[in-house]
């Protein structure tokens, strides 16, 4: 036991100030532990109150030794204060307003205690969540003794658009196909079907991610609500079974099915428990939230008892429910989930429609192409088709988003696989073919190009560009072509128009440069090979390399992405466009200047 003499002076001063402020009663004096000090206090609140709390509420206060710079926490003493919103289920910790708003001095403790008092009063009055405020999910976190804490989360895509599918299914259950996808760091819920076999939902996770991974089956059940005590979800199977019983929903069948058919490779099963939630407090239900519970499978039980198939499933189940993992007093091992629907992701940097709804083909997955692809994939573009037949070499890695694990793979497929893990909702496919493709209608590259609404040429191959320009024009697709110079000081961007081919825009831009009408001189643009270009001898042809730094390529690449998205967000104009972007080294630091942005017909 620590002694009072170890209490830091700053905490002692704050504690004395609190006592002098007379806003609470100290019920247990300040004492110091290894890394923090604690004391207990009590508040008087209105009695009776809507939540039937007693007139005196006692809290334990934990003050880290690094006070006032670390977080002060408040925990209830006793069982009355539990299950509220803005409160952790497991520990009962109160979630107070952002403590960065409290002063970082000895008065900090007084401020936080005042907030804790207000929290308790709001809790007693049932006003912690006010109508119209954003809805807060119940707290499912279970940190202690949960063997499934390291299980990857289950991303799902639910919104107001999918809600009508689920609303009539409340109270029902069914089967869900999962894919444990290491690359995405997730267990993807692929397909939901009803007990009668009806397919209900197939979230559009990219097949690049899900086609070659192990899938397994689990169950889902949709409850009218999930809370058992105030805003708290069930902690034990007893609470869960009682909740389902009171709601008239049969949970044993889907639970047993998931237990019987779960992930046999890793011996865990999943039951997704869904419930409708509103967008704001007091609002109508607008989407479904899914929260998985995890448990050992039948297979694990068989192995642990060395019964290997000899045991009868019914007998094993009875053992599990009587004294095993489903014993009523056992805790529910909630696993993690997250809603990755596009409407949610927008708040996290997803580009809006119409650009995000386009199918975009990127031809050329080198330094610039891979950067553009990464930016678009992470921005939530729904369909990306990556085309490049080059192989990843060690020499590429300095300026590429791929790494040594991909050396020897084709750039297009390796990049598609990597980016699919960055955004499982973007459908990303790699096409290791050449442009121009063959005339065969079944040519993979040709089909990829035909599927795209927009083509982005990062190939730096002028022949490929000319072919793409004609292809885009005849098939009414948008085409953008971009490249940099040897030091990534100048980015050229040519954009097609509804009536102007990309090559025409590029030709007009080149004429403007040749005639001295742009800030870029003809000598710089069309001149001799620049300083720094090195030709590497290799089998077959000489191979020119260029000295630009990756950070400089990414710097101009960011501008390119902004310009491309701005172009895609606007209606498709008649005019094409020629753009020159200069990377500058100014006295104040690096900068980007759009030197030239002219419409062309």
């Amino acid at each position: 036991m620590a002694t009072a003499s170890l209490i830091p002076a700053t905490i002692r001063a704050a504690y004395e100030a609190l006592k002098a402020a007379n806003i609470c009663t100290v019920t247990r004096a300040l004492e110091s532990g290894e890394a923090s000090c604690t004391f207990q206090l009590a508040f008087n609140i209105a009695d009776p109150n809507t939540e039937n709390l007693p007139g005196t509420i006692e809290l334990r206060v934990v003050i880290p030794h690094a006070f006032p710079f670390d977080t002060i926490t408040f925990f209830p003493v006793g069982d009355e204060l539990q299950g509220f919103p803005h409160q952790e289920t497991e520990s009962g910790k109160l979630c107070l307003p952002s403590d960065t708003k409290a002063p970082f001095d000895s008065s900090r403790l007084v401020q936080l205690v005042q907030w804790a008092h207000e929290w308790v009063q709001d809790a007693a009055n049932g006003t912690l969540l006010k109508p119209g405020e954003p809805y807060e999910l119940p707290d499912f976190r279970l940190e202690k003794g949960n063997p499934y804490n390291n299980l990857p989360p289950v991303p799902f895509a639910e919104s107001g658009t999918t809600f009508p599918t689920w609303e009539p299914r409340i109270g029902q259950s069914g089967t869900v196909q999962f894919a444990k996808c290491k690359d995405a760091g997730a267990i993807l819920a692929l397909k939901f079907s009803a007990d009668d076999g009806t397919m209900l939902s197939t979230p559009t996770f990219t097949p690049e991610l899900t086609s070659k991974v192990h899938t397994f089956l689990g169950s889902w059940i949709l409850l009218p609500r999930i809370t058992v005590v105030r805003h708290r979800p069930p902690k034990s199977y007893e609470e869960l079974f009682r909740l389902c019983g009171s709601l008239g929903v049969k949970i044993v069948r889907p639970l047993r099915r998931a237990w019987a058919i779960g992930n046999r490779n890793e011996h865990f099963g999943l039951l997704l428990i869904g419930f409708p939630i509103p967008r704001v407090v007091g609002g109508p239900f607008s989407e479904v939230h899914w929260q998985p519970i995890a448990f050992p499978t039948q297979e694990k039980l068989k192995r642990s008892f060395h019964r290997k198939g000899k045991a009868d499933e019914g007998r094993l189940w009875n053992e599990e429910t009587a004294g095993g993992c489903f014993k009523p007093s056992k805790p529910i091992l909630w696993a993690k989930s997250t809603n990755v629907d596009h409407s949610r992701q927008y708040a996290r940097g997803e580009i809006p429609a119409p650009a995000k709804d386009l199918a975009i083909a990127i031809v050329g997955c080198g330094a610039l192409g891979s950067f553009i692809a990464e930016a678009l994939a992470r921005s939530g573009v729904r369909r990306l088709l990556l085309i490049d037949r080059d192989i990843v070499e060690y020499g590429n890695l300095a300026r590429h988003s791929l790494d040594g694990r991909h050396v020897g793979d084709t750039k297009a497929t390796a990049l598609a696989h990597r980016l699919a893990s960055a955004n499982p909702l973007t459908r990303i496919t790699g096409h290791p073919g050449k442009v121009p493709p063959s005339d065969r209608p079944t040519d993979d590259t040709r089909r990829a190009l035909e599927q795209a609404d927009v083509l982005i040429d990062c190939s730096t191959d002028h022949g490929a560009f000319l072919w793409l320009s004609r292809f885009a024009r005849s098939s009414h697709k948008r085409l953008a072509s971009l490249f940099i110079d040897a030091h990534a000081t100048l980015l050229t961007l040519a954009l097609s128009g509804r009536h102007t081919s990309c090559n025409r825009a590029f030709e007009r831009l080149k004429s403007a440069i040749a005639e001295g009408r742009t800030p870029v001189s003809a000598q710089e643009y069309f001149g001799e090979p620049p300083e720094g270009e090195i030709v590497i001898l290799g089998a077959g042809c000489w191979h020119p390399t260029f000295p630009a730094f990756n950070r400089h390529i990414w710097q101009v690449g960011c501008s390119a992405v902004d310009l491309l998205l701005s172009w895609l967000q606007r209606p498709y104009r008649c005019d094409g466009c020629g753009i020159l972007v200069r990377r500058l080294e100014t006295e104040k630091g690096p900068a980007i200047d759009i030197l030239w942005n002219e419409p062309y017909r």
Binding site: R504, E507, Q523, C541, F546, R601
Partner: protein, 357 residues
């Protein structure tokens, strides 16, 4: 049996039996072309007034579009208001794709400078006649001619000046042809669509409206603006006072200007001062400039009287039938001729920047 769905047919072919005449003012770059669908019993006859192929500005490939439009490879007539290239380019291709029952033309002989395709017109006239078709000279008249369920009325050139173009100087001859350009209107009763070719101020001042000769015949709710929105309809020089009698006599509700954008036009068509005069008369929203968004505009006259509002094709015809610039092809061929890539050479002079990425 209905013809297979094509862009041209989907957009242009009347689906309403009440449509007496449908006029489509096509985007053809620096030139003019109007398609008229004239009711004839249960179907519509196709009339094409002037034609142009403008690759540089992505104009509609009119012959290809017409071939897509008609059920059988046949049109009722081709009308040439005057034999300048920008009203004639494509007539051979048109006659290759469809048979033409009748050619109506102004009878002028242009200079080679402005009418290099005139020999093609002569060839096509011969071809039409050889197949039993008819050649008709446009001559201003006081009466309209019945065509199917509607009528056309030629207002110019005046009969007495048709052959009066003999100047040797190309520019002088061009001016005289504009003065005597064909002006023709289609419709019935009080609803008319007038197409003025390249008719200029002099055409109206000296002939059509001379002593108010055709004044009562001129009113039309839709006007295909003369000479691609040039000021020549109002004045000879920019600083001159405008002659407005022509526009006021026609008194249109809507004006269609067949020209690319000013930047694309080698003649700066349409002229700003002319556009302002049109806008003053019909209001800004009723002057429809094809080149602005490469749109084609459509207007209908109904059998039971009245006419439709102006609609457009959203640029779809230019998108689907737009001619491609040869520039892509030339550049591709140049790239091909440059041979296999070994080590990049200096590209000074060949305007190919060095691309990295």
């Amino acid at each position: 049996m209905t013809k297979k769905s094509t862009t041209a047919r989907d957009i242009l072919w009347p689906s309403d039996e009440n449509i007496l005449v449908r006029a489509a003012f096509l985007y053809v770059g620096q030139g003019a072309s109007t398609v008229l669908l004239v009711a004839n019993g249960k179907t519509h006859d196709v009339w094409v007034v002037d034609i142009n192929l403008d690759r540089k500005n992505g104009g509609i490939d009119v012959p290809r579009m017409i071939a897509d439009l008609v059920e059988k490879p046949h049109i009722r007539a081709f009308v040439n208001t005057h034999p300048h290239d920008d009203h004639l380019n494509g007539v051979t291709e048109l006659s290759d794709l469809v048979t033409i029952d009748e050619i109506l033309h102004s009878g002028h002989v242009p200079s080679k400078k402005h009418g290099s395709r005139y020999p093609e017109l002569k060839e096509v006239i011969k071809k039409v006649k050889d197949k039993g078709g008819k050649e008709t000279l446009l001559e201003g008249s006081n009466s309209a001619v019945t065509i199917g369920d509607a009528r056309y009325h030629v207002l110019a050139p005046a009969e007495y000046v048709t052959d009066d173009v003999n100047e040797d100087d190309a520019e002088a001859r061009r001016a005289r042809i504009h003065e005597q350009c064909g002006v023709i209107k289609f419709g019935k009763g009080s609803e008319w669509i007038i197409i003025t070719g390249d008719a200029d101020r002099a055409a109206f001042q000296k002939h059509i409206l001379f002593e108010d000769y055709h004044k009562k015949h001129l009113p039309a709710f839709a006007l295909a603006a003369a000479h691609h929105g040039s000021r020549s309809f109002f004045k000879d020089k920019e600083e001159d006072d405008p002659y407005l009698d022509g526009l006021e006599a026609i008194d249109p509700e809507c004006v269609f200007v067949s020209a690319p954008t000013q930047e694309e036009s080698q003649h700066d068509h349409p002229h700003d001062d002319a556009m302002e005069l049109y806008e003053n008369h019909v209001s800004e929203g009723n002057v429809h400039h094809m080149g602005e968004e490469r749109l084609s505009f459509i207007v209908d006259i109904y059998r039971d009287g009245g006419h439709s509002d102006v609609s457009d094709d959203g640029g779809k015809l230019a998108e689907d039938y737009g001619l491609e610039d040869d520039e892509d092809k030339n550049t591709a061929e140049a790239a091909k001729a440059a041979g296999p890539f070994v080590r990049p050479k200096s590209s000074t002079g060949d305007l190919t920047p060095r691309k990295y990425g």
